[in-house]
């Protein structure tokens, strides 16, 4: 069974309905480590050695965060800057993350429709997440399409729970090392066959 590390970063988790439901669904799963960055490093003073150790002990890295201004919250970026060191994560001797799997799990207020060339946001989620994709590439990790819970402002409890169950199922698939390919041509993991069937 693959071990999963959920790097969760949300500066105001106590007010996030959507993330509360998502996290609740996966927090007690076996083989899943939930790492709440804002709770662990309220002072942004990241313990790099501890983080490297965590990464060493897991096979799948999930960046779970809300999408703020088309990117991740600042501590998540701080984590990337501090932990993914030259000659450890990348560079001539940087092979620590080679062969691991990586993906973004995001929540957005805007619905899927506004994230396209004709929509208010002009670009797709895939385009906005390019920096993460390339970060994973440079570290030699396989990058999967994102799992996105979108239009959170308009989701009712039932729909949220539905998403949370999908999230949990996705983690099962990742643990079984199920070949998700690169999402089988889907832009979102939400849309793959295995999660469609309830």
């Amino acid at each position: 069974m693959k071990k999963i590390l959920v790097l969760f970063s949300h500066p105001k988790f106590e007010k996030s309905r959507a993330n509360a439901v998502l996290i609740d669904q996966i927090i007690d799963k076996e083989g899943v480590t939930l790492h709440d960055l804002y709770e662990r490093y309220p002072d942004f003073n990241i313990d790099v050695n501890k983080e490297k150790e965590l990464l060493d002990n897991h096979d799948v890295i999930i960046w779970h965060h809300p999408l703020y201004w088309y990117s991740c919250p600042p501590l998540m970026k701080q984590w990337i800057d501090m932990v993914l060191e030259f000659n450890w994560a990348y560079g001539p001797k940087g092979e620590a993350l080679k062969g691991k799997t990586c993906l973004n799990v995001i929540t957005t207020g805007g619905s899927r429709e506004v994230y396209c060339s004709e929509g208010t946001n002009s670009f797709t989620i895939t385009q906005f997440l390019r920096p993460f994709e390339q970060t994973a590439n440079l570290c030699g990790m396989a990058y999967l399409p994102p799992f996105a819970v979108m239009g959170t402002h308009n989701l009712n409890d039932e729909q949220l729970t539905e998403h949370a169950n999908q999230y949990s199922k996705l983690i099962d698939l990742l643990q079984q090392d199920f070949n998700l390919g690169n999402g089988n041509g889907c832009a979102f993991l939400n849309d793959i066959e295995q999660l469609k069937r309830s």
């Binding site: 106590e14 609740d24 709440d36 003073n45 560079g91």
Partner: protein, 629 residues
């Protein structure tokens, strides 16, 4: 005379010690032990205590009076207001529902309406003593079941007061009740019309409130200033007896007066002192009360009509359980919480004894009716633990619903108690910050002038010596999550930490220290959360100095964090090094050596050099090295 009193006292005390020990061994509540002891020494078994049961009961009612005084102390008008919906809602449904149903039940059984009404009042009440004890023993105060129970019991305690005021109105108004049941003390209200009676009641309530503010509190302050501990005990009893006397004089229930007195003093700084002073007496007096009840259970009544008694007993318990279950349903409790609530409060409470004997004294109930209900009440109390065990062992495991696990971020629970010791400049800053987040710490301070001043500023501060276990206990240390020692006296902190570690190891301690040496001592005592007041402030100043010299602020910030981390590590490393005793010169020398050692280490370790995040030079160097290879 004295011999008989001594002998009786011996019988009572021995009975209590033996029976309560046995009850505790069997995992039953002490109330059951006391009741059993009463039954044993009473006229029907061993016959040590004969007809004096009545007098003893009268004296033992002081237990109830003191208990109500303490309940009053617990009820701060503010908290009460915050919980008003739960208290009035849940309590109202429970008391109302139970009264209506049991009124019907007893009317159907052929009781006169007045009698049925009094009995239904008694039945509506549950046992605060039994229920709260069980909840605290099991550590369930934080659950919805705990708070619901508390709300309902509190409402009942309040309703009792109304009931006690109401029952006399039911009394047969055939002039001076000449029956042998009446109490023989003077009663001002007897000869007054109802309007004046009401006025007198209102006046005496106002009197207690005013006296509390302008007479009792100043008196307690004077007593506290003397520093003589036993004077406070005397004062506490003086208050309780005084109020009881006034209330009896105007013909009201002393319990009601004591409750009011408690509420008046619940906002004073002496709340905890009074609690810790009266608590042991309360339990013993209540024990005596329960024993007297046990002794006055009339077994001839049971023997005469076992089926009737058994039937009514079961009917009453079922009826109460149903109402409780519905109450839980209305307020959306989960199934397991509902069942706990149902099983914990299904008994008839100790106030029923008071109500019933009170009504008997007013000729509303006959001797037989009172005996029957007393027996049923006592039996229903005895059954509580049995019902609880059945629920825990056989029903709950089958349901398997668990309260959902708290998410690490849902933890802002009002019920989590924080105790803050010391409210000087350091402690008050802590208190203010906690308060700005809606967390009200229970504050203990031993400087009565400061306590006065801070109370004027609207803080909730209590006066007392925090190194005394009983004061910590009445401040609620057993339910506390954290105790903060913000005092600058290491001796006080050490004493408190010792007491807490021994008696309440589950309470987390957070301790302020002045310097490294105090921190070493506490670390060696096994404490983890030590806060040196000299660390962060001085680093903040140093940081600002370097900033004025041209260092970048963000880098400095990070270096300060690194420095703290590193200093905490070295503190823990050095704590275990052996140290010689208070030899000043040695200490000063050692201090210099240590500082020198630190400075060297800092320099060698080069915290500035070590940090190369966001530093492209280091990447360039590494790449150049590669090319050269």
């Amino acid at each position: 005379m004295t011999e008989s009193i001594l002998f009786e006292a011996i019988v009572f005390l021995a009975g209590a010690i033996i029976c309560v020990s046995i009850a505790k061994k069997l995992g039953l509540s002490s109330v059951i032990g006391y009741l059993l002891a009463g039954v044993l020494i009473g006229p029907y078994v061993l016959g040590f205590i004969g007809t004096e049961g009545e007098d003893i009961l009268h004296f033992a009612e002081f237990g109830v009076v003191v208990m109500l005084f303490l309940i009053g102390l617990e009820i701060e008008p503010k908290n009460f207001w915050n919980m008003r919906k739960a208290i009035v809602g849940m309590g109202g449904i429970q008391v109302g529902g139970t009264m209506i149903l049991s009124y019907f039940l007893f009317t159907v059984l052929g009781f006169e309406w007045k009698v049925a009404l009094v009995i239904s009042m008694a039945v509506a009440l549950s046992s605060t003593a039994i229920a709260m004890q069980t909840i605290k023993e099991k550590g369930l105060m934080d659950t919805t079941f705990g708070t619901s129970s508390f709300s309902i019991l509190l409402f009942q305690d309040l309703v009792v007061i109304i009931m006690l005021g109401f029952i006399p109105l039911l009394a047969n108004v055939d002039g001076n009740a000449s029956a042998e049941n009446t109490n023989d003390h003077t009663n001002l209200l007897d000869n007054l019309p109802v309007g004046f009676q009401t006025l007198a009641i209102i006046l005496s309530v106002i009197l207690i409130i005013v006296a509390g503010k302008y007479l009792i509190v100043p008196m307690l302050r004077k007593v506290a200033k003397t520093g003589v501990r036993e004077l406070l005990i005397a004062a506490a009893f003086l208050i309780v007896f005084g109020i009881s006397f006034v209330m009896e004089y105007v013909g009201l229930s002393p319990a009601l007066g004591a409750f009011l007195g408690g509420v008046v003093l619940s906002n004073s700084e002496f709340k905890h002192e009074l609690e810790s002073t009266l608590e042991p007496f309360k339990n013993l007096l209540l024990g005596l009360f329960f024993m007297a009840v046990g002794a006055s259970i009339n077994f001839i009544v049971i023997a005469n009509s076992p089926l009737t008694i058994g039937g009514i007993l079961i009917a009453v318990i079922v009826l109460k359980a149903v109402v409780l279950y519905i109450t839980g349903q209305v307020f959306g409790l989960k199934l397991d919480q509902k069942l706990l609530l149902t099983c914990s409060l299904a008994q008839i409470g100790e106030f029923a004894f008071v109500l019933l004997s009170f009504a008997f004294g007013l000729n509303i109930l006959s001797q037989d009716q009172m005996d029957m209900m007393l027996v049923i009440t006592a039996l229903s109390m005895s059954l509580t633990p049995v019902i609880g065990i059945i629920n825990e062992r056989f029903i709950l495991p089958k349901i398997g619903t668990k309260e959902s696990v708290k998410r690490p971020m849902d933890h802002i629970a009002k019920s989590q108690k924080i105790i803050l010791v010391g409210f000087g400049h350091f402690g008050s800053t802590i208190g203010r910050f906690l308060r700005s987040h809606g967390v009200e710490a229970t504050i203990l301070d031993h400087d009565s002038n400061r306590v006065d001043f801070l109370r004027k500023m609207g803080f909730e501060v209590y006066y007392g010596d925090a190194t005394r276990l009983d004061l910590l206990e009445s401040a609620g240390i057993s339910e506390a999550k954290i105790i903060i020692c913000a005092t600058n006296k290491i001796g006080v902190s050490k004493a408190i930490s010792k007491i807490v570690k021994e008696n309440y190891p589950h309470v987390e301690m957070m301790i302020r220290t002045k310097n490294r040496y105090d921190a070493y001592e506490l670390l060696n005592l096994g404490h983890e959360n030590i806060y040196r007041e000299s660390l962060e402030t001085s680093l903040t100043l140093a940081k600002d100095v370097l900033s004025k010299m041209g260092f970048r602020k963000y880098t400095l910030n990070r270096q300060v964090q690194n420095f703290i981390k590193y200093d905490e590590d070295s503190l823990r490393r050095l704590a275990s090094e052996p140290k010689r005793e208070d030899d000043y010169i040695f200490k000063a020398k050692k201090e210099l050596e240590q500082q020198e050692k630190f400075l060297n280490e800092d320099f060698k370790r080069g915290i500035v050099e070590y940090d190369n995040h966001w530093d492209s030079e280091h990447v360039r160097k590494a790449l150049n090295n590669l090319k050269e290879e």
